[in-house]
Subunit: 147 residues, 2 copies
């Protein structure tokens, strides 16, 4: 996705991708220079575990959807950046309702990028994440099938 | 959840938790002694990223739902085990359709447990995960709010 596409999503002129819509994601802020985004999420009953808290995997999906866009807004139109590795620390349980997350590019090399994110609910830090992503461009990646 | 509850889910006599249902999860095999489960998932259009592959976060949610049950089937009725840390390596893209995952207890101490899982689609290894979980029991945890 290009920077322009993210700005259209921010303005409500372009629908969010399916996975983001499922998570009730709404982009609140974009900083294309720093590689930082703030995103609102809606944790639904469909995401709950047997004790009624939000299953950790869905919190991971939300964090993936803060760090991915944080890097994507810094990319050129012919580039994309699959996540190679994602690590989450679960700090406090989350319940049904709104969550707020931010994602940030910690370091962006020619191809290797390190990202981080945090997820909050009513001011409480719920989970923290780091990720490693690799920048590729559409022409060179046509030869490879894996990423 | 107790071992008995998992066996009822395996036999179709108890519905899966909401998060598992959202992921189209169906328990195929349980080994309570080894702490190992095999789970089928249904990757839906609602989980796709802008290029039509399954968003990594939803693959993480599936892996969380293999490793969590692998440990849970070994626990006593008064015990539960929140995940403290989850790490995923994304190896190949997944598309809409069925995935198969297994989760396994690598090591189970008095409280600290290490888990691993793998997710496949049509024989291709899609993602691999490790997790750290902490066994608690319902009575002692009443004093603590964090996990």
């Amino acid at each position: 996705m290009s920077k322009g596409m993210f700005h259209k999503m921010l303005d409500g002129n372009l629908p969010m991708p399916n996975a983001a819509q499922t998570l009730g994601a709404k982009i609140l802020e974009i900083d294309c220079k720093k590689g930082k985004v703030k995103v609102e999420f809606e944790a639904k009953e469909a995401f709950t575990n047997p004790v009624g808290n939000i299953q950790g995997g869905f919190l991971s999906a939300m964090l993936d959807d803060t760090m991915g866009p944080a890097l994507a807004v810094t990319l050129e139109d012919n580039e994309f950046a699959p996540t190679l590795e994602l690590k989450i620390n679960f700090i406090a349980p989350a319940v049904i309702g709104k969550l707020y997350g931010w994602g940030r590019v910690v370091s962006k090399g020619a191809s290797v990028c390190f990202l981080e994110g945090e997820l909050f609910q009513e001011g409480t830090l719920i989970a923290r994440s780091t990720a490693t992503a690799l920048i590729r461009n559409f022409s060179s990646s046509a030869k490879k099938q894996d990423h």
